[in-house]
Amino acid sequence: MSATTPVSSSASSSASGAGRTLPLTEGSTVQRVLRAAVTPGGAVFILAAILFVAVVSANPSFGEPPQLIRFIGRTAPIAIAAMGQYYVIVSGEFDLSMGAVIATQVVIAGNYIGDDEGRVLPAIVLMLVIGALVGLVNGLGTTLLRVPSFIVTLGTMLALGGLVRFLTGGAATGNPVDTFREIGRGGIQDVPVVEVLPYPVIILVAIMVAGVWLMRSPFGRTIIATGDNPDAAALAGAHVWWVKTRAFMLSSLSATVAGILLVGYAGVHPSVGAGYEFQAITAVVLGGVVLGGGRGWLLSAAAGAFALELLFSFLNFQEVESTWRPTVQGVIIILAVAAAGRAWSLGRRPSRASPPAPPAAPAPSPTTARPGTETGEI
């Protein structure tokens, strides 16, 4: 009985697509931007802008370029992690191992590099290789062994986290040389407007550009198609297992980069990165990306991370007790997702004026998708 739904949903969407262009490619640029702004993926930019105005009105100095660029630098790790999580979520899976990967990388950096400047480059290579390996394990476990990604990544999270704590004894150990920490906290001095251009900002922008290019490449299109309906993607000739595995590798690599940046800020401790996976998932969801896969934009995920951090800054400036932060975060994500569920399902339906009858089935509403590997099923 589960087989019928994907068929009917793809049939209804192809029926609405016949003879008309996709809604997002219709009209002039201005129209398209306006229409994009009312989708959840666009609304998060508006949300971020509103929060930014609120923060600036609470604390005017926040709006000055040097302050602002430092804020962006501080937010870079979580934004990078969110973009990594985006690949996995849009392909219809979860990655809970992110925090443990960050902790692993941080500890590796601390213990392997030590005071030896010559080891900085090999260490970065080593960390990237380990990150890719973790992603490979997650991906192959999910696709070839057919274990739900929630469970695979939970396993790697427990295993990596346990291993790191075991090896370090749960305490802060080692400290990499300052040249390595500079990546996270340093910057290019004497830049005209912003005084200091932090390296994290440069890395963030580079990753954003690369990510946007990636999502426009055939690989990016395939990821979204896979998340929407893995069976359809497989029948269309996509190597679903390899696409998903690469998504997991991208996620772990992003966590690695976030870890490299966090060494600069937070130092070396196995608890660095704790809770990052849920933070990243929150940011992605706030960015209007649908759990279950197939819908959402990469930059919206990054914007979600910024919106979240802006919200926390705002609460700080309002002198709300920091213990209430989780409560506010919880309320916000529930509201955001409730609103987003409505908006996506509205946006997906053919407009009422168009002659073909609206789909009889409760159209592919994103909220009926369930976690785990069964993404295409609705």
Binding site: S2, A3, V7, P148, I151, G162, L163, A361, P362, R370
Partner: protein, 378 residues
């Protein structure tokens, strides 16, 4: 669904050919997978794994010069099972209906502080405190259920959000331990049958039996399976989808509250962090999946979940006896989760309870992406 309901009877699992025409029996036999005799039911498999784990543990404990089956050790294992077991039963319900509950650790923490605060160490306060606590848990579950069923917020997000809200409340209002358990409740934590079986374990068994009966013999239980299998199909078959979802969430939260009372009977004071320290959210989900329940919902049983919980408890126990580093325990746990789930996740799909398949002819599904849409093919 009508056909299913008509042929659903308690003895559907046992052969009862007399009342049926010969033809349908033959067809039913033909429709059964041929390898049935060689392939085990997933519940049987999980208990085989449990037996293997117990045997290994007994040997390892024996090597350490101690007896795994000694009175004290059996008591310890059963006690360790009871709390996670109760939570996992609730989690099974929620997962079966196609949702998730990540809020359990915070609900557990909240329940311990509310109950301990209400009792203030006096026996006369027990009834009021217990009723208050469970009612509060029910309200939390109700809110979550309404968010999932009416606002169509994904269970992952709804429960994560509610969990964050509760954790913010806990962090703001409670620092350190709070209140005190009544002496009678603490006595309950130490009482048992013949010094072998603790009362807590009996409570767990009673709850397991009740929930199993609910799932097998009531309309609500059947609807839970139907909605978890495919919400859209269930809705179009005339099932009101809101009530079972809400009921599952309410029961899950109430069972978490019950687990919190058991915890309280052992610790004696309410603690605002006891739930998140136990990581009951992820461990209970892992136990449920270990027990053969499909993470996407619709297939699985409470019996399997109890087996999964038992495996965790035995593993923990033997690692405790062998004095394994606590951080390394996590590593082993993570490894076991992934390996165990990999073993039968490869067996394509956990088989359904007999009433859905055995008593009616299964027609071959024409599409190549038939019943096994559950896993993608490369």
């Amino acid at each position: 669904m009508n056909g299913t309901r008509a042929t659903t009877d308690p003895t559907a699992g046992t052969p009862e050919p007399a009342a049926e025409p010969q033809e349908s029996v033959r067809r039913r036999r033909a429709a059964r997978p041929k390898a049935e005799r060689r392939r085990l039911d997933s519940t049987a498999l999980i208990y085989l794994v449990l037996v293997a784990v117990v045997a290994t543990s007994a040997v390892l404990t024996g090597v350490e010069g101690r007896n795994f089956f000694s009175q004290g050790n059996v008591w310890a294992v059963l006690t360790a099972m009871s709390v996670l077991g109760l939570i996992a039963i609730g989690q099974t319900l929620v997962i079966l209906v196609g949702s998730l509950d990540l809020s359990v650790p915070y609900v557990v923490s909240l329940a311990t502080v509310i109950a301990a605060g209400g009792m203030k160490g006096l026996d006369s306060n027990i009834p009021a405190a217990v009723v208050n606590t469970l009612a509060l848990c029910a309200v939390i579950g109700l809110v979550m259920g309404l968010l999932v069923s009416l606002l169509h917020v994904h269970g992952f997000i709804a429960s994560l959000g509610i969990g964050l809200v509760v954790s913010g409340y806990l962090g703001t209002n409670y620092q350190g331990s709070h209140g005190a358990a009544a002496p009678d409740l603490r006595l309950l934590g130490r009482s048992g049958i013949a010094g072998w079986i603790p009362t807590a374990f009996i409570i767990l068994l009673v709850c397991a039996v009740l929930v199993t009966l609910l799932l097998r013999y009531t309309r609500l239980g059947h609807h839970v399976y139907a909605i978890g299998g495919n919400q859209a199909v269930a809705r179009m078959s005339g099932v009101r989808t809101a009530l079972p979802v809400v009921a599952a969430h309410v029961l899950c939260s109430v069972l978490a509250g019950l687990a919190a009372l058991l915890l309280l009977s052992r610790t004696g004071v309410g603690s605002p962090t006891i739930g998140s320290q136990g990581r009951y959210d992820l461990l209970s989900i892992a136990a449920v999946v270990l027990g053969g329940t499909l993470l996407a919902g619709g297939k699985g049983s409470v019996v399997g979940t109890i087996g999964g919980v038992a495996i965790f408890a035995v593993l923990d126990n033997v690692m405790g006896v062998m004095q394994v580093n606590p951080f390394l325990k996590d590593f082993v746990r993570g490894l076991v989760i992934v390996l165990a789930v990999a073993v039968y996740a490869r067996r394509s799909v956990v088989r359904r309870p007999p009433r859905f398949g055995a008593s009616r002819p299964v027609l071959p599904v024409p599409s190549s992406a038939g019943p096994s849409t559950k896993g993608e093919r490369a």
